[in-house]
Amino acid sequence: MTDVDAGTAGDAGDVWQLTLYVAGRTPRSVAALDNLKRICAEHLAGRYRVEVVDLVNQPDRAQGDEVLAIPTLVRRLPPPLRKIIGDLSDTEKVLVGLQLRPGGG
């Protein structure tokens, strides 16, 4: 399932492309998606696109982004590629991981 959950369209050059990998509708993947939506709404309003990939249905997608852990959030754009694993419950760490907030990488 390629569930494209578009936010409000913004400037084309500034759009963040995010992919969330899950495996079935587990509580953890549901939690991850909820957390992602919340964070995006708060910090990237109008300039993000999220693709959700369920590896149970598309197992071949796992190799492309080197996905091991579930859930994994991949920031494709802007470069460089970033990966955040886990249920995204720690907002601070997600923001650091997405480089929306200074504090390491």
Binding site: Y21, A23, R28, L55, V56, P59, D60, A62, Q63, E66, V67, L68, A69, I70, P71, T72, P80, L81, R82, K83, I84, I85, G86, D87, L88, S89, D90, K93, V94, V96, G97, G105
Partner: protein, 575 residues
């Protein structure tokens, strides 16, 4: 390692999955536990990846079992390249869907961990790869990379356990590689906790500047596996393990006898020479003629149209040929005619295993009837006595199994280590010939003794021999008192000859005396007879005269009586 030790029953004896790796299936009694994980632990560069990949490649090639290689280190391109040079065409296997390679890159710097996660993504990837080729075998190389890429050890360990269970449920025979750890652990991360059926430890050591790779079955549940360390080599066609005890002694034997090339030596071997598949050890101090003795047998074999291989570990080939020519053995023509191959190498150029495998490879290729190893003692420089013995045991068994006559020379010069080696080796061989010097009266002379030769009534004599321009000449059996050689023997023989002559003369003299006496006696006999005959003749003459005179007297008196007309009766017999 695991808390409970189950009581073994028939069903607990694990089914084997053959690896196809030379020697490994022998030491594991058939291969790895089928459908279960095996840990291959070792330091970097000890051959873990190679062993694992060979397991898959041979599985696909030889056993029709496709495999999946999950690489956490090298990418597919590197793997293709690395294994191409080792003779595996992985690209072809991948194209034929017999192999799937999945490179899992774990880059810690790219990953931010936020909250709970699992490794379902990895499971899905592995599952997809397994399904893609219908895999029966899988390798995880090196799973420990996960610990470097992710921070939550607790999750990794739980997931690792789950992963291995998942693979087991899928019936996959799995190799998990792990970096060697210190302080009594097989691996840094203690992977052995999750892999309880079979643990193989690889090691790469450098002793005396020689590197040796070794493999040990540290654990094999329900199996009487060999606990030895087995040296192995990485050859052009993969891993070659040397299971020394694995060949066994159940080789076929022959009753065919072949000449040693020295007729009198053949005589000492029951008159028939040695068995065609014998292993012969010729020991002796420097210069006793070991190489020459061996070359006679090689020469004789080639003369009979049999092939021979000469492994020279001391001298160069031209030097050997020149030296042998000076004693009348010319091996050059045999070499030219392709009946004889020489291989000269320095024992200390590579490890024992390499030598062993080189010898085996050459013998397998050329298939000679005779193999000469001259000398084997130089190997003591390379390995210790036990290793040398193990190597030679394997070599002797290997050659015997092929029905090859093996001629080994060994130098003795009183060194305790060498002596020990010789003692150790001599029990392996069928025939043991000792060459030595006998010192006496200011000179040294060569002598030869057959210490043992299995399966024949060999000579027990110490025989003197000379190395002449026509090769080895064994002297006559000396039947006199004392064991003498050389000039002393010659002198003794001269003395004995003089004595014999003297005796002969004595006899002659006595014989002459007897003759003289006899002649004298005969002469006396003759003279006595003549004397007697003369006497007899005289006496007979006298008798005749007397008779004649008496007759005439009677006649005269008769005439008178007639004249006087006397009575016949009255004067009949009167005188």
């Amino acid at each position: 390692m695991e808390a409970e030790v189950p009581i073994l029953s028939e069903s607990d004896v694990l089914e084997r999955c053959p690896t196809g790796i030379k020697g490994l299936d022998e030491v594991t009694e058939g291969g790895l536990p089928r459908g279960r994980p095996t840990l291959v632990a070792g330091h970097a560069g000890c051959g873990k990846t190679l062993l694992a990949m060979e397991f898959l490649a041979r599985g696909a090639h030889q056993y029709g079992e496709p495999g999946v290689f999950v690489s956490f280190e090298e990418d597919q391109k590197d793997l293709f390249k690395n294994f191409q040079s080792l003779g595996f065409d992985l690209r072809d296997l991948v194209a034929r869907k017999l192999l799937a390679i999945d490179w899992v890159r774990v880059e810690r710097s790219e990953i931010q961990e936020t909250g709970e996660y699992d490794l379902e993504g990895l499971f899905i990837r592995i599952g997809a790869a397994v399904d893609r080729v219908g895999a029966k075998r899988i390798v995880l190389d090196t799973i420990e990379s996960l610990f470097a890429g992710l921070t939550n050890d607790g999750i990794i360990r739980a997931e690792l356990r789950r992963l291995l269970r998942f693979l087991k449920e899928k019936g996959l025979t799995t190799i998990v590689t792990g970096e060697a750890g210190g302080s009594g652990r097989f691996t840094k991360q203690g992977i052995e906790e999750y892999v309880s059926d079979c643990v193989i430890v690889l090691d790469h050591r450098v002793d005396s500047q020689l590197s040796t790779r070794r493999l040990r079955i540290a654990k094999y549940r329900g199996s009487a596996h060999g606990t030895n360390e087995y040296p192995f080599l990485i050859q052009s066609d993969g891993i070659d393990l040397i299971p020394i005890t694995a060949i066994g002694v159940g080789s076929r034997t022959t009753t065919e006898r072949v000449t040693t090339g020295i007729p009198r030596l053949d005589t000492m071997f029951d008159g028939l020479g040695v068995y065609a598949d014998n292993s012969v050890l010729i020991t002796g101090t420097a210069g006793t003629g070991k190489t020459t003795l061996v070359s006679h047998a090689v020469d004789a074999a080639c003369r009979a149209g049999r092939k021979a291989t000469f492994f020279a570990f001391e001298e160069s080939v031209p030097q050997i040929l020149r030296n042998l020519r000076s004693v009348g053995v010319d091996l050059g023509p045999w070499q030219d005619r392709g009946l004889l191959q020489f291989h000269a190498s320095r024992p200390d150029l590579c490890g024992l295993e390499m030598h062993l495998l080189t010898i085996e490879a050459e013998v397998a290729k050329f298939e000679p009837a005779v193999v000469a190893l001259d000398p084997i003692t130089n190997f003591v420089n390379v390995g210790n006595a036990i290793e040398v013995r193990q190597m030679l045991t394997r070599l002797v068994d290997f050659l015997k199994a092929r029905g090859v006559l093996t001629l080994m020379t060994s130098l003795t010069h009183g060194g305790a280590e060498l002596e020990a080696t010789n003692v150790a080796i001599s029990s392996l061989v069928d025939t043991f010939v000792v060459l030595g010097w006998v010192r006496s009266e200011g000179e040294r002379n060569r002598c030869l003794n057959i210490v043992k030769s299995r399966g024949m009534a060999h000579s027990n004599q110490t025989r003197e021999f000379r190395i002449t321009s026509a090769g080895i000449q064994i002297q006559d059996v000396y039947t006199g008192a004392g064991g003498l050689t050389g000039a002393a023997r010659a002198a003794q023989e001269a003395r004995e000859r003089a004595e014999a002559v003297r005796l002969e003369q004595d006899v002659e003299r006595r014989r002459a005396l007897v003759h003289t006496r006899q002649e004298a006696f005969k002469a006396r006999m003759r003279s006595m007879q003549a004397e007697f005959e003369a006497e007899q003749a005289a006496m007979l003459q006298q008798i005749a005269q007397d008779e004649a005179s008496r007759t005439s007297a009677i006649e005269e008196s008769q005439a008178l009586a007639d004249l006087r007309h006397s009575d016949r009766e009255a004067n009949g017999d009167g005188d």
